[in-house]
Symmetry: C2
Subunit: 622 residues, 2 copies
Amino acid sequence: MGKVDIQQLDDVANLLRIDSIKMTCAAKSGHPTSSCSAAEIISTLFFNEMKFDKTFPKNPSSDRFVLSKGHACPVLYAAWHQAGHVSTTDMMNIRKITCDLEGHPTPRLDFIDVATGSLGQGLSCAAGMAYVGKYIDKASYRVYCLLGDGECAEGSVWEAAAFASYYKLDNLVAIVDMNRLGQTQQTMLGHDADAMAKRFESFGCHTVVVNGSNVIELLNAYNIARETKDRPTAIIAKTLKGKGIIGIEDEDNWHGKPVPESTIEAIEQRLMNKADIAGTLQINLPVNDAPNVQLPIGHIKMTPPEYTIGDKVATRQAYGIALAKLGDACPRIIGLDGDTKNSTFSENLLKKHPGQFVECFIAEQNLVGVAVGLQCRDRTIPFASTFAAFFTRAADQLRMAAVSFANIKCAGSHVGVSIGEDGPSQMGLEDIALFRTIPGSIVFYPTDAVAAERATELAANTRGIAFIRTGRPACPVIYGNDEKFEIGKGKIVHDANKPKALIIGAGITLYEAKKAADKLHSENVEVIVMDPFTIKPLDKDLIVKSARRAENRIITVEDHYQAGGIGEAVCQAVSDQKDIRVRSLFVLDVPHSGPPDALLEKYGISAKCIIDAVHQFIHPPN
Amino acid sequence: MGKVDIQQLDDVANLLRIDSIKMTCAAKSGHPTSSCSAAEIISTLFFNEMKFDKTFPKNPSSDRFVLSKGHACPVLYAAWHQAGHVSTTDMMNIRKITCDLEGHPTPRLDFIDVATGSLGQGLSCAAGMAYVGKYIDKASYRVYCLLGDGECAEGSVWEAAAFASYYKLDNLVAIVDMNRLGQTQQTMLGHDADAMAKRFESFGCHTVVVNGSNVIELLNAYNIARETKDRPTAIIAKTLKGKGIIGIEDEDNWHGKPVPESTIEAIEQRLMNKADIAGTLQINLPVNDAPNVQLPIGHIKMTPPEYTIGDKVATRQAYGIALAKLGDACPRIIGLDGDTKNSTFSENLLKKHPGQFVECFIAEQNLVGVAVGLQCRDRTIPFASTFAAFFTRAADQLRMAAVSFANIKCAGSHVGVSIGEDGPSQMGLEDIALFRTIPGSIVFYPTDAVAAERATELAANTRGIAFIRTGRPACPVIYGNDEKFEIGKGKIVHDANKPKALIIGAGITLYEAKKAADKLHSENVEVIVMDPFTIKPLDKDLIVKSARRAENRIITVEDHYQAGGIGEAVCQAVSDQKDIRVRSLFVLDVPHSGPPDALLEKYGISAKCIIDAVHQFIHPPN
């Protein structure tokens, strides 16, 4: 780096302010004051500290920048404008439907890795990127994450800090823009920067408190961070909200609204380099030391399943076996878990390929956030696992993963009442609903071990957010090892002539449905039993075709609550079909602890309950 | 308190160990080692420190105890056994379907206030209880929360700690059972009690580090906590997992499984008082200084809405108006928000009744957890509000609120693409699905201001978890102030002779449906438009009756994703009806930023899209 032009960095900060004000005035909405507090942080990062390739923002060797306080995106857009990558026209079209400079950043923009705007999530993603940089890419790039002070009330920030220090991520720098003011009032810590620093320090970060509007202090802090080994650095930058805007700086009631455009004048007057300085700005190019990675998505071949039909294997166990095999096939398959790895069987990957596994401890928000960070720029394919119920802890992170168009795989074990004695707090009963809501997601619900292995392989080979729902109990293998599985293709596992109803079950309830079918057959009542394999997409064609054969009757049965589950998905799939009727069995109430079989019975999803439902359907009481 | 019998407390601890081992052996599952590490903590709390009424565990004046590490419930059940409240028979039936001593604690037991078992949630609930004790009941009872060290990786713990110190909850004591071992490996901090203390200290707690197996040190720590003013105390109790079990103590691979019953022998030998000491145990009775509260649920009368048909009012604004009115009517209506109170309009209550409002800052997990704590023992009726999207951050807390059979009300604003420019991160598009999954929940989706006020009133007057979905845009009032609303009763807002289809919309899409109906009428195509008012329960009768009148065609239209939304709920409701067909309009993809009207159009839920759908439905293309 050459001699630092402090005045230029001050000037750039003010130019960023001016552009932030201008673009939010043009949009008639947005967050100029939250942008202005961060102007020097951004000017120093982009035009002195960071190494990046403005012509190819996704360069794998470039330093990463995550704007965790996503609402301050005007200042970020302004920085990329100063860098010459965002046009004036685009900038002035911020928040319009035709322009990808959205109200909060999304990876529709080539210089955004992860969507932000739900606060407190950026540091987890940044930590994931830093983990890849240090341990997987083993490259020199660094990761900078800008947080607001208000969002430090989110626990996920502290999950990320603990993770980053545990894994000694000295390539990660968190910068807190401590501008004192939240949306509606002063934050909990106000301007007590030392108290904030103490928090980061206690979570294992090296900390530096600076005046966040002072370019020299900021540059010095970045230097300290670069020299700090074996732990991340948190820079607590004391700033003022609306800094530089006369009459608005440090005042309440200016969150998330444009300021008068006339306020620009005073800022312009403070500029020393009145001429356009864009061309003269220093941008440090990256050191191209990140390895070339071409993820073989679509071509990751796992060795075939090796089961014997009838052997009892839990699908969670088969998931673990498949994950380890995928790890053999591709060194960029990474497993993550939340201290449940011996329950989800993700430990199989850890045992075989310790370098491809990240223990995230009991912090599911961070687990998912780190996974999102790991997949950025296609560096890895992360498989995150925990109990299905505990993915609800990361529902917002999963929602945002969709906005990030992320390529992550989640495996949730211990679903439904069939887990038994541990009771309702441990039972995944809304996980299908949760993952079905995610745009473009795939929801696998493999019934046996062969299906579970293939689901895992298909998840690895299909871009996007996939969920694999696995069960606790060991159940018989029903498919041959050479059975072919496809996303969106179900299977008929029990068929007969002149069936009276189609029964759709998955996992434990498919076994119950098969039992019911056998029993009904002995009573001369024939049914079809279907295994949907994926609940999303659902094999509508097979459902409709089979229902038509079965006197237009469908019974769904699932170890899950009703809303958003298999039953509703099936009802939706046949909703435009005349004549087809659907009845659904599902868990209605908060379940009790107890033995799995007794719970299946009590909550109305056992073979016996299915048989009763079939009888009632075909012989309605008068 | 009389003279402390240290030996007795040691003996009780060992009796708790013995019972924990016995009951998990009987159940063939459970967590004896996690129980044993906490035995002295529990014996000292229950038989020296705490004041409670063993014959009436829900006594409002009693000290509260929250077992955040819910899997250690055997030791808690054993304590209530020693107190004489749980029978030996029940204790030996733990985890059976017939016994409410479940695998993790739930309020099916009279001595449990909140369900635990999803880790890291207890301290938020405890903080809510302590808030009530200090500021609302203004009583002397204290709140004790026992956490595991592993669960301190959950960010929600730190949200709760920050909240508790911000509100100076010196009646709250967090005790961390730092037994070093998680489920699958050593925790992040291992036995570094000072590092753990530093974290709690930095979050504003007074901290004491003790040997958690030493009765005298524990009693001393409780004393310090009682003498600490204006901040909560965190006691870091260094313990050993499986403490006292020979060959198992402090060893890996003993999480969540019974230990050999023979290990009891050595523990029994350590007992000094071999005889049954249950009768001699000291239990301190509460000081009965909590006010008598009878929540008038079912009788809280709000002054009627005062709107003019056609005036434009956002439902979020009407929510705020109603909330303030409820605050007038009942001093135990408490509003909570996550620093969005000027957006959700919950600030109306704060302005009118500052003592009935709790700002929870940007920490939605804790927001919901505190609400659950506030409602315990029917002390208050909490209304928690934030953007609907951000309730996903607390999805696990909401799931557990259901297991707690909690009486909480959530109001989520800024739903759907109709919020416009702020973009997808701020749009609630899965909130209906989230709240519909909760067993027994009520999901209100009021369309206009009158309906929103009535929804708020009905929520206050109906026990359970209720969600009120409010919108950002100001839309015309369509109902008269004297319109009657009922849970589960929809309304026909547009009718005609010989209708060709029933259109079901809510909120912004009801207005679009009405516009579509008017336009279709001008083309001589008649439709019925229905406002369901509550999405759960759904007015199935009105839907079926109206669809039958409308040539069996239903079109649903919602500003929400498909899964678990209005469309699927309607499909489910009519699934057993022959002939009725349903088509659904919903948001399919991750939306973009843009003006609301343009987004309604782009995502296929505008009046024009409805009109097209009606035409296609009644005149299918060849």
